[in-house]
């Protein structure tokens, strides 16, 4: 593993499966399908097929030791997130999209000074906790 594999960028369908795998951890095809189907109607075979393709591409790893194959994401989500975020997230969040979303945190991240202040606050909070 001296050179990082030039993994292909996942398609939208593959990305969704990766997201499920990151969220659930290693899962069977049935688990993945169940989660996806709760958002939009999807065929079990479609998920299976996609997972097989992704395994070929190296996006997911397949554990064949058990009777039901267990799939897991080949890379931690931070890795793919960085790959994808570079082009989409920065543009979307840095631009106008952020002002169209409402969130508990500001669109702009905290500055290093502010982060230090936050850390101090948290430490005090932990100490003050009964």
């Amino acid at each position: 593993m001296s050179t990082p594999n030039p993994l292909p960028r996942p398609t939208d369908a593959e990305l969704e499966i990766l997201t499920v795998l990151w969220s659930l951890g290693p899962s069977t095809v049935r688990d993945v399908h169940e989660t996806i189907a709760r958002r939009k109607p999807t065929q079990y075979t479609t998920v299976l097929k996609t997972l097989q393709i992704m395994a070929e591409k190296g996006l997911v790893e397949r554990d064949e030791k058990k009777r039901a194959h267990i799939y897991s994401a080949a890379r931690p989500r931070e890795w793919t997130q960085q790959q994808l975020a570079g082009d989409l997230l920065r543009r979307a969040f840095g631009g106008s999209a952020s002002s169209l979303m409402l969130g508990a945190l500001a669109a702009q991240r905290a500055s290093p000074e502010e982060l230090a202040e936050l850390r101090k606050f948290l430490e005090e909070y932990e100490k003050g906790k009964p």
Partner: protein, 766 residues
């Protein structure tokens, strides 16, 4: 490009430009008002401060729109205002200030370009917003995963606690690094992947509650409107500042909601801190940071919303009063500015201002009679245009008193002495004129009176009481050796052509600035409806008849010969068909006819008291404009009764006859609508269209379950009579209605841009 350059000088563009300029101070006033209110209510609950900020932000586009409306309403009317030809012959006063006019003209020239720049900016911000919206939509579908059933259920419980009835979906996303709420009708909360597993259940609940508070408060819609305001008035930092206050207070509101529900402010603050720490480190660009620490301090130290402060209604009232005060100050400023950027049409502007003066919103204390008399009689010939508009803008009698004093002081040849020789001489001249020149009108109003008041006693008078070789009528010649600003050896001739004692001026010493009769007629009659205010101003500036001749020639050349021929044909047509007590071209129908040409369709009510003209495709392919003229006393004097300013789509053309109405579409397709009634009964509809008593089309049909029966028929140009007979088959009741319809589809050769000018392309709101 030339069209563009012409557009930025249209009254609309000018009004926009001035509204943009005025908003600079309006925005500052509103932001300052908000700042003051926030200072006063620094301890008030977040939702009150939020309401104040929202009010200030909403007031901004409102102020802009009102300003635009006021400027538009008070703009100098260049077309179709009878003031032109009754405008008093006000010669410019002796102390007109050309330098200042020039400066204003320069500023305005620059300003005109501000409008396209502003429009481009608005387009940019809206396009950017649209792109952001698309990106947000993608976020909802790309790289997301439904949260586990347990969390979904928990979310539903929280929804119930906040009385939210809309279904909210909970998604994990690999694209956000902070929890966000998107969508309004189908709201979705996106949590960063790992958030659900990495935080404690109580912490996740805090976050969900915060986002749900946004849903419950309809913040998403407010935020959208807020973005629209930001884009519209992007050039003003005050807008962005107020908008930022709104955003900050909105988050505070939601924080308060969370604490109210959860109880532990410190735990919630810690959740926010942890969440922020979990984000990827800040990019170098976003170094200015958010306001999270402020929020945390607020959450942990302040007793939020504990105090009961002044009712929000009261605070809103204060803001409204400040805003209203700012608005009333606006019209007072307007006339000066407006006047200044139309230097050449200044007398008109002054007249318009003078006419507008008694309007209640114009001034706190309307000008009372003595001051009006002073303006319109005493100094009417000598007051400068700027002074006139400044005077009209004054709001109290004490200001007017002071203005009059200063007016005379400026003209005093010996400022140190108590005696003002100029003033004394001026009133002496008025008295002299009234004594010697009075005829059917007061002496100061006559031509001789005006000349005497403006230029003083002539050096020589040549009186010919019984006419002379050149003239059959009694005439007088006044000789001035020198008149400052006019020239040397000036002879003014007055003729008493009707023997009434009213001597009329035949040559004006200020001839250079004035047009003689045929040219004035050309300006105020022939071209009255089609000349632009700029062209009018240019024309009035011309010094000789040769130049005027040339101007008129090039004016028509620009428009093209067919345009000119059509224009005069329309005037002749109007005079021939619409003349009543006044010439046809001056009537409402005449005016519309001269400007827009023959209508596409004419319909008249069966009692002939209402006429309706329809024009298609004036502004665009699918628009129609409708003019309704009414003649209630049947004298043939039809008055325009509607405001056709707004284009209509598929206008229901006939309001006057509810039994039968007509829509006119393109290519002469007429759609007849016969309302049947709300009952689902069966009707038999017989429809007959006749032309010259010959039947053109007959249709008969049985209709059931329909409220309106419609039929579309292509009709060639011509005059028609429509009759519809409706029989209710259940009750046997029969109803008959009729309508006259005139379809005019004749070719309109000068319509459109071929002539280089859009003939009647825009509708001035009358």
């Amino acid at each position: 490009m030339t069209q563009f350059a012409a557009w930025i000088r249209t009254p609309m563009a000018q009004a926009l430009g001035w509204a943009l300029v005025h908003f600079v101070w309006e925005g500052v006033v509103l932001a300052a008002a908000l700042l003051a209110m926030l200072r006063v209510f620094h301890a008030a609950p977040a939702r009150r401060r939020y309401a104040l900020a929202c009010l200030a932000l909403a007031a901004m586009p409102a102020a802009f729109a009102i300003t635009l409306g006021v400027i538009w309403a008070l703009r100098p009317l260049a077309v179709a205002v009878p003031i032109h030809w009754v405008a008093a012959p006000l010669a410019d006063g002796p102390i007109a200030a050309p330098a200042r006019r020039f400066a204003w003209a320069m500023i305005f020239d620059r300003l005109a370009w501000a409008v396209p720049v502003w429009a481009a900016g608005v387009a940019f911000f809206y396009a950017r917003g649209l792109a952001g919206w698309v990106a947000v939509r993608r976020l909802r579908h790309r790289g997301v995963c439904v949260a586990s059933r347990e969390w979904q259920t928990r979310l539903e419980q929280l929804c119930a606690r906040l009385s939210i009835s809309r279904p909210v979906s909970l998604l994990e996303s690999c694209f956000t690094d902070a929890p966000v709420l998107i969508g309004y009708l189908r709201p979705a909360i996106l949590l960063p992947l790992g958030c659900l597993t990495g935080l404690s259940a109580a912490q996740v609940e805090c976050i969900l509650l915060h986002e749900l508070a946004h849903v419950a408060r309809h913040d998403y819609v407010v935020n959208l409107l807020q973005s629209l305001v930001e884009g519209l008035l992007f050039y003003h930092p005050a807008v962005w500042w107020v908008s930022r206050v709104v955003r900050a207070e909105r988050e505070n509101c939601c924080d308060d909601r969370v604490v109210e529900t959860m109880g532990d402010a410190r735990a919630y603050a810690a959740t926010l801190a942890v969440l922020e720490q979990r984000r990827a480190p800040a990019a170098a660009l976003a170094a200015n940071g958010g306001n999270l620490m402020k929020r945390i301090r607020r959450l942990t130290t302040e007793s939020r919303g504990a105090q009961t402060s002044v009712a929000p209604a009261a605070s809103a009232a204060v803001l409204l009063v400040i805003f209203a005060a700012a608005l009333t100050a606006l019209p007072a400023k307007l006339p000066k500015v407006r006047h200044a950027h139309t230097p050449a049409s200044a007398p008109l502007a002054a007249m318009a201002v003078a006419a507008a003066a008694p309007l209640p919103q114009q001034s706190a204390a309307p000008m009372s009679t003595p001051y009006r008399k002073w303006l319109l009689e005493d100094v009417v010939y000598i007051i400068a245009d700027q002074e006139r508009s400044a005077f009209v803008a004054l709001t109290s009698d004490s200001e007017r008193e002071k203005f009059i004093e200063q007016f005379w002081q400026r003209r005093d040849p010996t400022p140190g002495t108590p005696e003002n020789e100029f003033r004394t001489e001026h009133y002496r001249r008025i008295a002299y004129a009234n004594e010697h020149f009075a005829g059917s009108v007061a002496g100061w109003k006559t031509d001789r009176g005006r000349t005497y008041i403006v230029y003083g006693p002539p050096d020589e008078i040549d009186d010919h009481p019984s006419g002379g070789t050149a003239s059959a009528y009694p005439y007088q010649q006044w000789r001035y050796r020198y008149i400052e600003g006019v020239g040397a050896n000036i002879i003014v001739e007055f003729v008493n052509s009707d023997g009434s004692g009213d001597f009329r001026m035949t040559s004006d010493p200020a001839e250079k600035q004035r047009a003689s009769t045929p040219y004035r007629k050309w300006l105020n009659e022939d071209a009255a409806y089609i000349i632009s205010s700029e062209e009018r101003a240019a024309f009035l500036k011309l010094a000789s008849d040769e130049e005027r001749e040339q101007f008129i020639e090039s004016f028509w050349q620009r428009l093209g010969e067919p345009f000119r021929e059509e224009h005069y044909r329309r005037i002749a047509h109007a005079n021939e068909h619409f003349s009543t007590g006044i010439p046809g071209w001056k009537t409402d129908r005449g005016r519309i006819y001269v400007i827009y040409g023959p209508p596409d369709a004419i319909a008249s009510s069966s009692d002939s008291k209402s006429i309706l003209w329809t024009y298609l495709r004036i502004d665009g392919p699918s628009s129609a404009h409708v003019f309704i003229f009414e003649d209630p006393d049947g004298r043939g004097d039809f008055r325009l009764t509607n405001d056709p300013g707004a284009p209509h789509e598929n206008v229901p053309l006939w309001d006057a006859a509810p039994e039968l109405s007509v829509r006119i579409g393109g290519h002469g397709v007429v759609t007849v609508l016969v309302p049947l009634g709300p009952s689902p009964d069966r009707f038999h509809v017989y429809m007959e269209i006749t032309s010259n008593r010959k039947i053109v089309q007959v249709s008969e049909s049985d209709v059931s379950g329909q409220a309106v029966f419609t039929k579309s028929i292509p009709l060639p140009a011509g005059q028609y009579r429509l009759a519809a007979i409706v029989k209710d088959l259940a009750s046997g009741a029969v109803r008959r209605s009729e309508l006259n319809l005139d379809v005019v589809n004749g070719p309109r050769p000068v319509w459109g841009k071929a002539s280089g000018r859009e003939y009647g392309a825009s509708f001035p709101p009358w």
